[in-house]
């Protein structure tokens, strides 16, 4: 750590010399005392000239963030060499809000950071400078120490699950159109080779048999599981406060589109997995972070980690890649639809016969603080976005705005979950 001298000792020394000169000139001993005291203060303050004085801070997060929480606590233990009087801490919370505190070492500083967003984030970072003597020497800023954490998204209960046109497999929680075991009553059918004897419905046989030896069985529907591919558009992350879109300050933005998208993806993923379906997860901007198709408790944990670790990756020049989805899978496309890529992909999947559910992750916007030009620009952006959503509906994509009232969300999900003719 490099140390440099400040102007304070020089200023004190100049004062002392002027006073000593005046004392000698005018023969005043009392003024000479003033000069000597000032000079002694300067000498006391700047007596240490070592360059290897150590100033350091160790950051530890008090509790691991598990589940949605409102704040995180970080402890900074500040230590320094004994001749360091003061340590100047510059604490940056959430990458934007900066505060400075001057403490006497050793000191324990507790930083309570409000967590308004899900996902991986730097909750606190500390840079420090040491001050020795009467501010005689100041060190350069130390290397930045930071604490990062992953805040899990919040799951909303999804009581009704939209299903793909075709279900697969002979296990799962959904009613299949095929005859089999586990489902509800299907029909009364003449006994055929392979039918189990315990399925013979004797009352129906007595009623319907025309010839001796006619037997009727009671058939049920099979249960099947669905293939669900969650595709996450991570191109942008815009908050409720439109005026902050250019800066992206997380302390001012309010709930952002990625917060909504993470909540939606996690709510749907956990609901489908609970229903016994196979769920995969893919991110549009990169292949990293994808979770292949699977089910069960371990898949739930994998999905939770993958969804929580999503972060914005603007696609400035590159096009969104086209994630591969299982044949017949329901594609859940989570996006803010501020870019056209998502619409192009939805059209591609529709053309391949997939049912596509578009989750609109744009939060309810607050246009306060915008000037006339910005309002006009916002209208243009939202107009283009509405056009894209219309286009999606036109090609048979179901659109669901996730950041809407709970009852409204429930009603739309119920409608979407109602079986339809293909």
């Amino acid at each position: 750590m490099r140390w440099r001298r400040s102007a304070a000792p020089a200023a004190g020394a100049v004062c002392a010399i002027v006073l000593a000169g005046a004392a000698l000139t005018f023969g005043r001993a009392d003024v000479a005392v003033l000069a000597v005291v000032l000079f002694a203060a300067v000498v006391l303050g700047s007596r240490v000239r070592r360059d290897d004085r150590i100033v350091m801070a160790t950051l530890t997060q008090v509790d691991e963030v598990s589940g949605p929480v409102s704040s995180a606590e970080v402890h900074a233990a500040v230590t320094a060499d004994p001749d360091v009087d003061l340590v100047l801490l510059r604490i940056t919370a959430l990458g934007f809000e900066s505060q400075s505190v001057a403490v006497a070492p050793p000191a324990n500083v507790t930083i309570e950071v409000p967590l308004a967003h899900s996902g991986e984030q730097e909750i606190a970072a500390v840079e420090l400078r040491g001050v020795a003597g009467e501010a005689a020497a100041i060190s350069d800023a130390s290397a930045r120490a930071s604490v990062r954490t992953v805040v899990e998204p919040m799951a909303t209960g999804v009581p009704f699950l939209p299903l793909p046109a075709r279900l697969r497999g002979l296990a799962g929680g959904h009613q299949s159109s095929r005859p089999g075991d586990g489902g509800e009553f299907r029909d009364i059918h003449p006994f055929a080779a392979g039918d189990r004897l315990r399925r013979i419905d004797w009352k129906a046989t007595a009623r319907l048999a025309r010839r001796p030896g006619d037997l009727f069985v009671r058939r049920t529907n099979a249960t099947s599981d669905a293939d669900v591919a969650i595709v996450f558009d991570d191109a942008d992350d815009v908050g409720e406060a439109v005026v902050e879109w250019t800066l992206g300050d997380p302390t001012l933005s309010g709930r952002t589109s990625l917060d909504v998208a993470r909540d939606a993806a996690w709510s749907l993923a956990s609901a489908y997995l609970e229903a016994g379906d196979a769920v995969s997860f893919q991110v549009l901007s990169r292949t990293r972070g994808a979770v292949p198709r699977g089910g069960g408790g371990r898949q739930l944990e994998r999905l939770k980690a993958a969804i929580a670790q999503t972060s914005p990756h603007p696609r400035l020049l590159s096009r969104a890649r086209t994630p591969l989805v299982a044949p017949g899978a329901l594609v859940v496309l989570v996006s803010s639809f501020l870019e056209r890529d998502a619409v192009r992909l939805a059209a591609l999947w529709r053309a391949a016969g997939h049912r596509v559910l578009a989750i609109d992750a744009l939060p309810r916007l607050n246009s306060g603080g915008l000037n006339r030009r910005q309002l006009l620009a916002l209208r243009v952006v939202l107009g283009l976005r509405d056009e894209r959503l219309h286009e999606l509906r036109a090609i048979g994509v179901d659109v669901l705005a996730w950041d809407s009232a709970h009852t409204e969300l429930r009603a739309v999900l119920r409608t979407l979950a109602t079986p339809r003719r293909a």
């Binding site: 200023a11 009392d30 505190v101």
Partner: protein, 172 residues
């Protein structure tokens, strides 16, 4: 527009980082008003205020120097309170001015961080005030005749006290 989310910092008792600047301005202005004749008091007050607003101008030391030089206009008298206050204030302005140079006005300052500079100030002040009292007693209008030159005596005595203090603190 959304309200900004603020991180809360706890580090014992904290005071605003602007406090050293305010203290420098207050002490400088109060001392100038009570101990300096006009129009010099206004100059010292202006220097104290400039030093509080822009510590890097080192105007606080200008104010301290003006206060100290006012002592020249007074006849040395051990019964006068002003030389003692001047000594304390000049030294305090040096300590506060140094703090104001490094503490950000928008930040916070731990009260505990003031203890070490104030302890050093006190350690220097106690013997210095005693020496000043002696010097004023021997060099004043009521000083006994036949003693060595009071100025030389005072400088040597003060230097000795300062050296003792410096050596004592260096050993720690």
């Amino acid at each position: 527009m959304s309200d900004r989310l603020h991180a809360r910092i706890s580090a014992g008792v904290l005071i605003p980082g602007v406090s050293p600047r305010l203290a420098g301005a207050l002490i400088g202005c109060a001392a100038a008003l009570t101990m300096m004749p006009e129009p010099f008091s206004y100059i010292a007050m202006a220097l104290a205020l400039v030093g509080a607003l822009f510590p890097s101008t080192l105007a606080t030391w200008g104010c301290a120097l003006a206060l100290a030089l006012t002592q020249l206009a007074r006849t040395p008298d051990a019964g006068d309170w002003r030389p003692y206050v001047t000594l304390a204030v000049v030294h305090l302005l040096h300590v506060i001015g140094a703090l104001a140079l490094v503490v950000e006005p928008g930040g916070s300052l731990q009260v505990r961080a003031l203890l070490r500079p104030l302890r050093r100030w006190l350690v220097l002040q106690l013997p210095a005030q005693a020496v000043l009292a002696l010097v004023l007693a021997f060099s004043g209008t009521n000083a006994p005749r036949g003693l060595p030159t009071a100025g030389v005596f005072a400088v040597i005595a003060a230097a000795c006290v300062a050296a003792i203090v410096v050596l004592t603190l260096r050993r720690r």
